[in-house]
């Protein structure tokens, strides 16, 4: 029973990593054809991606969206997490549903709804609309990351601060804020990653300046090539490195917070 279940878990994890492993393997294979047998090791597909000015421009556009999205989502997520998990509030249930809504509503439906609204109100589609739209769908995740740090903070610390004469605001600034700082940093990184990987919503509300995800989507609709493998691998490992960093920060928070 136990051996069987261990085998099952291994198989499932192998399934989860199979696609990523495959593109990684063929991104360094010295052949245009993606098939066994291997033709030898090469980095030329990576060189091809790095030398592509159009993709480079898309990457810069992605960065100029992901930075503000990460900041906005973390600020709003911080407020939301405090309201939902730390300070008592009226209408908590409804607020929680409102927060979860962008995660549960099909992205394409949210995208067309925002498209209509921007159209009706005469808002020109630009990077600003992309930033606003992405912040909406990243918000549930950033709130969750910050709340997961906040719920571990001992409420006794707040009472102790109050007993020592600290006002609500100074107790927040000197007790809560330092303890939630790691949560904020982790949320920033997670929001950055989610923003840079987002496609459906971005494609709908972006104007002339197109982020990397939109460029890549139009590329691989038509043809597969090893250089797209290389690009995908760079995106995946960049994201994994960032998420690992966020997880590390969050773990550190749980150690100092407990």
């Amino acid at each position: 029973m136990s051996r069987l279940s261990t085998l099952w878990v291994w198989a499932v994890f192998a399934f989860m990593y199979l696609p990523i492993a495959m593109i990684a393997l063929f991104s360094v294979n010295d052949s245009k054809i993606m098939s066994l047998p291997f033709s030898g090791f090469t980095l030329k597909w990576y060189a091809e991606v790095m030398g592509d000015g159009r993709l480079g421009g898309g990457f810069l556009t992605t960065l100029s969206v992901a930075f503000p999205v990460a900041i906005c989502a973390t600020l709003l997520g911080g407020l939301a997490a405090l309201a939902i998990s730390f300070y008592p509030m009226r209408g908590r249930g409804i607020f929680a549903v409102l927060l979860l809504a962008p995660f549960l509503i099909p992205k394409l439906i949210l995208a067309v709804a925002q498209l209509i609204m921007f159209n009706e109100t005469g808002v020109e589609r630009s990077l600003l609309t992309v930033i606003a739209a992405q912040t909406v769908i990243v918000l549930p995740f950033s709130t969750l990351v910050i709340a997961s740090v906040l719920i571990r903070i001992d409420r006794g610390l707040l009472e102790a601060a109050a007993d020592l004469g600290a006002s609500g605001l100074s107790a927040f600034r000197r007790v809560v804020l330092p303890l939630m700082a790691n949560g904020l940093m982790a949320s920033w990184v997670v929001a950055f990653v989610l923003s840079s990987a987002e496609y459906v919503l971005t494609a709908f509300v972006s104007g002339r300046a197109q982020p990397l995800s939109v460029l890549v989507a139009s590329d691989f609709r038509f043809a597969l090539s090893p250089s797209l493998n290389a690009l995908a691998v760079m995106i995946v490992f960049g994201n994994i490195a960032l998420v690992a960093l966020a997880e590390l920060i969050r773990r550190r928070a749980s150690k100092t917070g407990a």
Binding site: F13, A101, V112, L228, I235, I240
Partner: protein, 283 residues
């Protein structure tokens, strides 16, 4: 502390979500009653769009197909995920948090990259076909691998399995092993312990995970579109087409709201099921 602080903190977030999530959906709802007059929107409310959806076998079929796909993937992920969740909660020990992180990491690679990877694997010029030909198993590529419902459902399962596992894992974490020991002491065999103790007590997790997987499968646009070929036409891609080339925003809005209404009904039912079964589990 008064209720004011929390409410004050929530205010900017509420305003932001009202402006960029609720308001757009309400405008979408209003649009669903309008109609297209040649190339302009005619703001003349009627139920014509909803009548058109109800009367069209195509749209009814697409909606049913979406829910069929959702139910199928929920079933597959539940069967695959159940042992994994149990293992993570009860057997993983020190490896638990590392395994949980490993399970979630592929999610961060983004929808596009994941779909791309499956194309590389399953395509006629892809890894599996090319390798089978090289190994002499077949002469010609197996065409049915990519651009088929099979490819779509493999990738959908891959995409949303972690959400099912997380839902179930949370349920297993709160499952007290004492219940199982008590059942064993009372002479219940392993299958009966599973059916009468484990399954009912982890049912809320199954519902929560199932709901998440269901809405995400129903709402997935990219996966069927890029892996399904001719079978990739879904109700979601139909909405996309009505907002693009077909230019019928009002009809697209009506389909979108039909889907939202049905999904909300599912959620209400799911919430009720979870509440009821956790009452049973608690007593």
């Amino acid at each position: 502390m008064s209720l004011r602080v929390g409410t004050l903190l929530a205010a900017p977030v509420t305003a932001f979500l009202l402006a960029l999530c609720v308001a757009p959906l309400l405008i979408l709802f209003a649009y669903s009653f309008f109609r297209v007059d040649f190339v302009a929107i005619s703001y003349d409310p009627s139920f014509a769009n909803y009548a058109k959806i109800a009367g069209s076998a195509t749209y009814r079929g697409l909606i049913l197909k979406a829910f069929g796909s959702g139910a199928l993937v929920v079933a597959i992920t539940a069967v695959i995920g159940y042992p994994v969740a149990w293992f993570l909660a009860k057997r993983a020990g020190a490896m638990k948090s590392a395994l949980l992180t490993l399970l979630l990491v592929p999610l961060y690679s983004g929808d596009l990259v994941r779909v791309f990877a499956w194309r590389v694997l399953l395509g006629a010029e892809g890894v599996i076909n090319r390798s089978l030909i090289w190994a002499g198993v077949t002469d010609a590529p197996i065409q049915g691998l990519l651009f088929s419902p099979l490819a779509t459902h493999i990738a959908l399962t891959y995409n949303y399995l972690p959400f099912m596992v997380i839902g179930l894992w949370l349920a297993f974490e709160s499952l007290d092993d004492a219940w199982l020991e008590a059942a064993a002491d009372l002479g219940a065999r392993s299958p009966s312990r599973f059916a009468r103790v484990t399954l009912p007590l982890t049912f809320p997790g199954l519902v929560a995970g199932g709901l998440m997987v269901f809405v995400m499968v129903v709402g997935d646009y990219l996966t069927p579109q890029l892996l399904g070929g001719a079978s990739g036409i879904t109700v979601i891609s139909a909405i996309n087409d009505l907002f693009g080339t077909a230019f019928d925003w009002p009809l697209g809005s009506a389909i979108a709201w039909t889907m939202l209404a049905i999904l909300m009904a599912f959620f209400a039912m799911g919430a009720m099921l979870i509440r009821r079964s956790s009452l049973v589990g608690g007593s």
